[in-house]
């Protein structure tokens, strides 16, 4: 459940970022498309990073074994 919710929040943040980019630097259709591409790429990269680390920890095969020094 946490996975879906966080994914949706990434999507929401991405959409907000696109809107911000459109509002702040509206420089014509070709430039807007470029900014949109940048924002979407960044959102996808960040989401992938988070999702990979989250999925890897969902059903781990090993657990932390504390080391003696502690």
């Amino acid at each position: 459940m946490g996975f879906v919710i966080t994914t949706l929040s990434f999507v929401a943040i991405g959409i907000i970022a696109c809107l911000c980019a459109r509002v702040c630097c509206n420089k014509g259709p070709s430039a807007n498309l470029f900014h949109l591409t940048l924002v979407i790429t960044a959102t996808i990269c960040c989401w992938m990073m988070w999702a990979i680390v989250y999925l890897a920890q969902m059903n781990p095969l090993i657990v932390p074994i504390l080391s003696e020094e502690e």
Partner: protein, 818 residues
């Protein structure tokens, strides 16, 4: 497909549309037109006189004059630097100075300066001579006084060890002054005084001894001050010497030896009063010369100062003029010799601006005839031009360093803007180090205005040029650092409590069996309980390796998709059917499937061994999977994927060359029938140029090319996927280095109670972090991210064999010279 064709143009994706143009300029407005075009900076001239040597071109004289003027300006600059003056430019812009007037002005200044330099050199030489004379008088006077007495040594005189008592005639008291042109005495002891650099004195003495067969008396004393040596123009120590000898032949020999050794001889009167007289004269002359020299230097400095005011303006002017004449040399005279014809490339959007500049030039030069500017067809492919701003410029340069994009092919810089800093951050991930980088980047950006006008060292210049890259790199590093949960290698519980706890209250088996996961996974990033545990590395290694594979497959798929976009743009359906589709099938049925397995294994928590699954998919695909089964239907799916991959290889290898050959014969078989043609060539209006396109279709060459391309892709898919594992390797290295510095330096030093040890530990930690982690690791991760982009990403779609648009621009010349 239709949707993709109808998408609006994206800013940086493809080169600006370029057009080949022709200019016909009447001679009287040529110079002005080219200057205005240089200010505009949007037209690249083609060199129409390529085959001519520089001396055969039309405007060679003007170029020579400009070169001569810039030589004079460089001479002035040298002189100003040597004199140690600071060059201060007058802020006011001067009106356009005529080139000829400037030339005469420069010639005058140079003449003046050279004269002043020559004079001051002569004066300096005379001054040196008098200085030496003064020293000789001082020291030699002492010798001569003692020589008048008997031969015993008196205190205060340093007589050398090797004094050679020669046959002293009885008339020793009749010492004569030895002048260069004095009346020669038939007999008697004479002497020569002089001064010689200290390094040569021993050899000199020995030579004299040999030459005169020991019949001489040699005294020497070191001079008090350093004297400027005329030959090497540095201050050397000199020694004053006096040689007593007899005989005319000895005199000539000694003089010759003095000359050979560079010793300067001076006439010293042996009479004491005369000596004092001459010393007085010499001293007065010396002070006179000093003042004269002083005045001369001040005069010269004043002249240099006035020159220095205008120097930068003059230099820019001369550079511009030379550039204009170089460009004019690229144009051809037409048959009537009244017009210059030029060809070039310009972006289509710049055509109105160029028209306007040309009109202005016609008007300003009062020419009756306007300049003709029209589009012309060209055979060769246009240059590539991307309009970048300060932000995208650095990324475009990174891409161009590998190869400039072919005209209108997709520009990888669009995606590189984000993926390059992101992959850097995957390898660098530590939000503490990320914050340090961010501070550095913000400082560079805040002082943008000041730093861009300064002249920076080469390292600082690179750093400054990449400030926006550094900014994005630092932002993504902070993000990845939060995900890896490393702040100078220390994890924090920022996003809530850990998902692991002890199995029971006593935590007795935490050190043997480990903790237990009692909640959902840690919401953002790596759980902080992993740091310091014994199973940290197995877990993180597995995570990071799988992450690298997932990112690699994603980026390579993006590359293949971009090649699809290219095929659509160039209407190359052959490439789509026989290259894009089999490539997608091959890559995704093997490595896409591996990525799928990774995700399924994570989601289900299965214990399947993925190495085993992948290897046995190839070795024995029909065997039962047993405990390696991750989902129902895995075996038939694997067989299907294996078959698709095997089919895809000949699919990308064979059809394309055969079809190309068929197309070629179809296209040109109509040639024999003249008008009848089956397919039209594009951009072809003149029948003449069509002849150039009839190349021999070399089937074997095309086939080998296709084979190389296919093998490269197939083998490369394995090697490129493995290459992405460097994301894991570097991130592990960074994390381990960081841990070592933290635990073994900082914590160790902090363990002691002594404040000094703590400070030393802190200092070592700071230095190690700054130099090794922040500088070396940044460069290393930068390099590897760059390699991943240049090779693994771009070899899926990038041609990179275009050439860059280099317009004739004054701004570019100014940058070049610096």
């Amino acid at each position: 497909m239709e949707v993709l064709k109808n998408l609006p143009e994206m800013d940086l994706m493809r080169s600006e549309k370029m057009t080949s143009v022709q200019l016909i300029i009447p001679v009287e407005s040529a110079h002005r037109a080219v200057s205005y075009l240089g200010e505009l900076g949007l037209l690249q001239f083609r060199d129409l006189n390529d085959d001519k040597s520089p001396f055969q071109r039309t405007f060679v004289n003007q170029v020579k004059r400009c070169a001569e003027m810039s030589r004079k300006l460089r001479f002035f600059k040298d002189q100003i630097n040597k004199a140690g003056l600071l060059s201060s430019a007058l802020p006011t812009m001067q009106p356009d100075i005529d080139l000829e007037a400037l030339e005469t002005q420069l010639a005058e200044h140079e003449h003046e300066l050279i004269e002043m330099n020559a004079n001051s050199e002569k004066l300096q030489q005379t001054y040196n001579e008098f200085l030496e004379f003064k020293m000789v008088l001082q020291k030699a006077g002492v010798f001569l006084v003692s020589g008048n007495k008997s031969y015993e040594t008196t205190e205060g005189i340093e007589l050398d060890d090797n004094v050679y008592p020669s046959d002293y005639p009885e008339s020793a008291s009749l010492l004569e002054q030895a002048t260069h042109s004095g009346p020669s005495n038939p007999s008697g002891l004479r002497f020569i005084c002089g001064i010689i650099p200290k390094s040569k004195i021993l050899l000199f003495e020995r030579m004299l001894f040999r030459a005169t067969r020991g019949n001489l008396l040699f005294n020497q004393a070191p001079a008090d001050d350093l004297i400027m040596d005329a030959v090497s123009s540095e201050m050397v120590e000199k020694t004053v010497f006096v040689v007593f000898f007899s005989g005319e032949q000895a005199r000539t020999k000694i003089l010759k030896i003095c000359e050979a050794f560079g010793a300067n001889c001076y006439p010293v009167p042996e009479d004491f009063t005369k000596q004092t007289q001459i010393t007085q004269e010499v001293l007065s002359r010396l002070s006179e010369l000093e003042t004269t020299l002083d005045v001369g230097i001040r005069h010269r400095n004043a002249a240099l100062h006035t020159i220095g005011f205008h120097l930068t303006i003059w230099m820019t002017m001369v550079k511009r003029e030379k550039a204009v004449f170089d460009t004019l040399n690229m144009l051809n005279f037409d048959v009537t010799k009244k017009c210059l014809v030029g060809e070039g490339w310009c972006p289509i959007f710049a055509k109105p601006q160029i028209q306007e500049a040309l009109q202005r030039a016609t008007f300003d030069s009062n020419s009756q005839v306007g300049i003709i500017f029209h589009v012309m067809d060209a055979v060769e492919s246009p240059p590539t031009y991307f309009r970048t701003n300060a932000f995208t410029n650095a990324y475009q340069e990174i891409v161009d360093a590998y190869g400039v994009a072919k005209y209108q092919e997709a520009n990888p810089a669009v995606y590189t803007v984000i993926t390059f800093p992101f992959l850097f951050a995957v390898m660098f991930g530590d939000w503490g180090h990320g914050i340090c980088l961010l501070i550095g980047a913000l400082i560079l950006i805040a002082r943008e205005g000041k730093l861009s006008s300064q002249k920076l060292g080469s390292f600082m210049e690179m750093l400054f040029g990449g400030r926006y890259v550094l900014l994005l790199m630092s932002l993504f590093s902070i993000y990845c650092g939060l995900i890896y949960n490393e702040f100078f290698s220390v994890p924090y519980h920022i996003f809530g409590a850990s998902a692991y706890k002890c199995r029971d209250k006593s935590c007795s088996d935490a050190y043997t069996v480990g903790l237990i996961k009692y909640r959902d996974a840690y919401p953002f990033g790596v759980d902080p309980s992993w740091r310091g545990s014994r199973s940290e590395l197995p877990f993180l290694n597995s995570l990071k390796m799988k992450m690298s594979i997932l990112f690699g497959v994603a980026q390579m798929n993006l590359g293949i998709m971009i090649s699809y976009l290219n095929s659509i743009f160039f209407n190359n359906s052959l490439d789509i059917r026989y290259q894009f589709v089999p490539q997608m099938i091959f890559l995704n049925s093997l490595f896409g499937y591996l990525s799928l397995l990774i995700i399924i294994k994570w989601c289900t928590g299965s214990q399947a061994d993925l190495y085993h699954v992948m290897i046995y998919m190839f070795l024995s695909p029909f065997d039962d999977l047993g405990e390696n089964e991750l989902f129902w239907g895995q075996r038939p799916l694997q067989i299907l994927l294996l078959l698709s991959a095997l089919v895809a290889v000949p699919w990308m290898l064979f059809p394309k060359p055969f079809i190309l050959r068929k197309q070629h014969t179809e296209r040109f078989q109509g040639r024999a029938y003249g008008i009848l043609r089956s397919t039209e060539m594009d951009t072809d209006s003149e029948p003449g140029s069509a002849r150039q396109h009839v190349e021999e279709f070399n089937f074997s060459e095309v086939f080998v090319h296709q084979m190389i391309h296919s093998i490269e892709f197939v083998l490369g898919s394995v090697s490129n996927t493995a290459s992405y594992l460097r994301l894991w390797a570097l991130s592990l290295a960074h994390s381990e280095l960081s841990t070592v510095f933290y635990e073994k330096v900082l914590l160790l030093a902090w363990g002691y109670e002594n404040i000094l040890i703590r400070l030393v530990g802190l200092a070592v930690f700071a230095f190690a972090t700054a130099f090794i982690l922040l500088m070396m690791e940044t460069l290393s991760a930068f390099l590897h991210a760059l390699r991943l982009h240049w090779v693994e990403f771009q070899n899926k779609f990038y041609g990179g064999d275009g050439y860059k648009f280099k317009p004739f621009s004054f701004a570019a010349i100014a940058d070049d010279e610096d």
